[in-house]
């Protein structure tokens, strides 16, 4: 009896695996189903469509990863959208008319700047103990304001090479989907590996999961918070750079910032990240980011008007969460 109670869970391995990776798998399957459905509804589906979806979903994917890292560590950042437009504005100003090498250096600089700035936000939160949502609501406006100061009207630009880096072509349109796929998967898998395999990454999960237990096991929880915001800032900057590469010029609009923030939250929720922290992965969040992006072309291909499409997007999120809630409830009853 005693040994049975203490026994390993190896015999139910597949159930554990399903529970742990179930959500990720589900979101990726949902994405594949959507893509297959999309391919069957439009007259031709080829490398042009793949490239288009891959590159155009990049900003939201990066933002979803940013938000996922921060929420997993127990925070939430309403300013990721502002960080995206600020990075976009700064990069567009500095990269305009520059050679590829310079633009690459600017890109690194912008990412580091965003990481430092957002790390400072994390520091303020952990020192002041003001709730994350309050501080980042303020920085949503502050950072968006900075972006408007940097780039009051649409403009600026970047090098052809830099555009090709994200989109596969100097003009931002084309059939070469490889660069976009690499930009999609490499940072995502890199972040996922770092989160689960480095001690720092694990300390983010620990802090979000149970701050007390984390502190008792010797985790520097304040540092974990700062790191999560810094990494989130870096990914938000990646989003800004991606959108610069896609459009070829910069644009600062507050509506873009707030819209992207809301979508990033929607993406992580759909992607299986618990808003209470500690649960989920950047892989699921990234997939959900693509799903949210792909929904609009899919619905318009089905002839649904854009306003109705918004309603359907919202309903989808609620539906998925309800299903997840019911599954969770059944699991707890069974336990």
């Amino acid at each position: 009896m005693t040994t049975a109670r203490l026994g390993s869970v190896r015999d139910v391995d597949w159930r554990v695996a399903l529970r742990r990776y179930g959500w990720n798998t589900g979101v990726w399957l949902l994405l594949i189903a959507l893509l297959v459905f999309y391919a069957s509804t439009i007259p031709s589906f080829g490398s042009f469509q793949i490239a288009s979806i891959a590159k155009n979903s990049l900003p939201l994917v990066f933002l979803a990863i940013a938000q996922a890292v921060i929420v997993i560590a127990g925070g939430i950042d309403l300013a990721v959208g502002s960080m995206l437009i600020l990075s976009n504005a700064v990069a567009a100003q500095l990269m305009d008319e520059q050679a590829f090498g310079i633009t690459l250096m600017v890109a690194v600089l912008v990412i580091l700047m965003a990481a430092a700035l957002n790390g400072a936000v994390g520091w303020v939160i952990s020192v002041s103990k003001v709730p994350d949502i309050v501080v980042t609501l303020a920085t949503l406006f502050i950072i968006a304001g900075l972006a408007l100061l940097v780039l009051p009207s649409p403009g600026g630009g970047t090098s052809d090479g830099f555009r090709a880096l994200f989109t596969g072509s100097a003009t931002g349109t084309g059939t070469n989907f490889w660069p976009a796929l690499v930009m999609l998967f490499v940072p995502m898998l890199g972040a996922a590996w770092w989160m689960k395999h480095s001690r720092t990454g694990l300390s983010l999960y620990a802090t979000g999961s149970d701050p007390t237990a984390a502190y008792l096991s010797g985790v520097n929880t304040a540092r974990a918070k700062i790191v999560s915001y810094a990494v989130g800032g870096a990914f938000a900057a990646m989003g800004g750079l991606a959108s610069l590469a896609i459009t070829g010029s910069g644009e600062s609009r507050f509506a873009t910032a707030s819209n992207f923030t809301l979508k990033s939250v929607a993406a992580i929720v759909l992607g299986g990240v618990a808003l209470t922290g500690g649960i989920g992965s950047v892989v699921g969040a990234a997939a959900a980011g693509i799903v949210l992006f792909v929904l609009s072309p899919v619905l318009s291909a089905m002839g649904v008007d854009p306003n109705t499409a918004q309603v359907i997007q919202g309903a989808l999120i609620v539906l998925v969460m309800m299903i997840a809630g019911i599954v969770q409830l059944r699991r707890e009853r069974a336990a």
């Binding site: 390993s8 742990r20 689960k196 237990a213 984390a214 502190y215 096991s217 985790v219």
Partner: protein, 492 residues
């Protein structure tokens, strides 16, 4: 080794808000000894351990390790200095796997695995999530993790409470092993038999102070209990209510074979109107769960809770229970109150369900609030926010709001935890008065000495079962403590 003690804590004090957890505690642990830290519930044992392991920073006092002053700023620093602790709640991250938890603390999993093997836990799956593992496994895992650091002082806070007998043996073997290597163990437990068997010396805490350092083998179980209790203030019980008539009083609440997980394992009792029924238990014997079941916070796996009219309680939430007149006074008062709202508003909270006029309370309900304030002599001028009241006054507000709304069964879960003596008396007096007025009161208190003062009968809960029932007048603290340690069971 020098002749300096391994650990010397002098005058450690710690208070949380208005509650004094430690007044001035001294503790000395020598190298190579197993030292017990004893005390009744709330004596400050856990707080002292947390001060020594860097979780709480003491308000006053000094900690020396090998004679050197040591500032324990956080748990990591404590662990690096060789002070490893297994806390009462496992310090493992529920959403991470075993392996990830070890990586987080930078411990090689082979070493931890070796220790687990020695404790018969070699089959723990390191890929399993912590939340899927049973509590005893987690405690031993936490122990293995602490051992992997080869600490000079291992602090075990009630580690055996959640373990089965054979698992506890593994812990004892580990303790012996530490001792034979010249390392020390600080052992906290409620089980005095373990202390007699394992410990070289014992420090007894009472009310946040150390009152005695002794050799358990010399003073024996009785001596330890005596030291833990101190001089029991012999207050005379109130003029004893007619006990005989209670047998004929109607039953207000009855439980039949109530079960919930491993915590409550077939509890049956009946509570009569006009009675204060005491529940005596050590920590974690299922009393928390029992009160959760009765107050509608959790549903039982099996068994029934029947009310006066033969109706089942069948509560889905505390709201249902309150509607049927079963109300709870919890130990954590701030949990029960709206700390930032005014006192009057707190008193009327349960009345919100009964509002008969829009935007204002019905007249007689206002009167009821007034009368509750009067009866409890709550100082309403003390502050606009209930959270600013002293602990005792907060508890009076909690009782008062049920007075204002009306109830049939009052469940009191350690209502006087951390409350000064004077207010304690008032609360007990009030409970007695309520019972004499026909209410049924179920009272769990960690202060066993007070049971004969206020209760009519007392149930002793041990390991989720009722092991003893007696009239409260006979229930001396010694008798209750003995029964609560499950000792009578061994005799039988």
């Amino acid at each position: 080794m020098s002749d300096k003690p391994l650990l010397q804590a002098d005058g450690i004090a710690k208070r949380f808000g208005t509650v004094v957890a430690l007044r001035s505690a001294n503790l000395q642990v020598e190298p190579g000894e197993i030292h017990a830290l004893l005390g009744a519930n709330g004596a400050g044992k856990s707080t002292l351990v947390k001060a020594l392991s860097g979780v709480h920073r003491p308000d006053a006092g000094s900690i020396r390790v090998n004679g050197e002053l040591f500032d324990v700023r956080n748990p990591r620093i404590a662990a690096e200095a060789g002070l490893a602790t297994v806390f009462q709640d496992p310090a493992l991250i529920p959403d991470l796997t075993v392996e990830e938890n070890l990586r987080l603390t930078n411990l090689p999993s082979e070493v931890v695995h070796d220790w687990l093997e020695r404790m018969d836990l070699a089959d723990v799956d390191f890929e399993a999530q912590i939340r899927d593992l049973p509590l005893p496994t987690l405690r031993l895992l936490d122990l293995a993790r602490a051992l992997a650091r080869d600490p000079s002082l291992l602090m075990l806070d009630e580690i055996t409470a959640a373990l089965t007998a054979d698992q506890a043996e593994h812990v004892f073997a580990v303790m012996e092993d530490r001792k034979s290597r010249g390392k020390s163990v600080l052992f906290i437990t409620h089980r005095l038999g373990e202390v007699l068997r394992m410990c070289d010396r014992a420090t007894v805490l009472r009310d946040g102070q150390d009152v005695e350092v002794c050799v358990p083998g010399e003073v024996g179980e009785a001596g330890l209990v005596q030291a833990m209790l101190g001089e029991v203030a012999k207050a005379t019980p109130d003029e004893s209510s007619a006990l005989a008539s209670l047998d004929e009083a109607p039953v207000a609440l009855e439980t039949i074979e109530l079960r919930s997980g491993d915590e409550v394992r077939g509890v049956s009792f009946s509570l009569r109107a006009g009675e204060v029924l005491g529940v005596a238990a050590l920590e974690d014997q299922g009393q928390d769960r029992l009160f959760e079941l009765l107050s509608g916070d959790r549903r039982a796996d099996a068994g029934e809770i029947i009310l006066a009219d033969g109706e089942a309680l069948d509560a889905r939430s505390p709201y249902d229970a309150v509607r049927k007149g079963v109300v709870l006074v919890p130990s954590d008062r701030l949990h029960a109150l709206l700390p930032k709202r005014p006192i009057r508003e707190n008193l009327t909270t349960p009345l919100y369900n009964k509002i008969t006029k829009w935007f204002s309370l019905a007249g007689d309900e206002k009167q009821r609030v007034d009368s509750a304030i009067d009866r409890l002599s709550i100082d309403t001028r003390a502050g606009k926010q209930a959270g600013r009241l002293s602990g005792g006054n907060q508890q009076k507000v909690v009782v008062g709001r049920w007075l204002a709304s009306g109830f049939r069964v009052l469940l009191c879960f350690d209502p006087t935890r951390g409350i000064d003596v004077g207010t304690k008396q008032q609360i007990y007096h009030l409970l007695r008065e309520l019972a004499d007025g026909g209410a049924a009161v179920l009272l769990y208190t960690s202060e066993l000495a007070e049971i004969p003062l206020v209760c009519d009968r007392v149930l002793v809960l041990y390991d989720g079962e009722i092991v003893d029932e007696q009239p409260a007048v006979n229930a001396t603290e010694q008798a209750l403590l003995t029964a609560a340690h499950g000792i009578s069971e061994e005799v039988a």
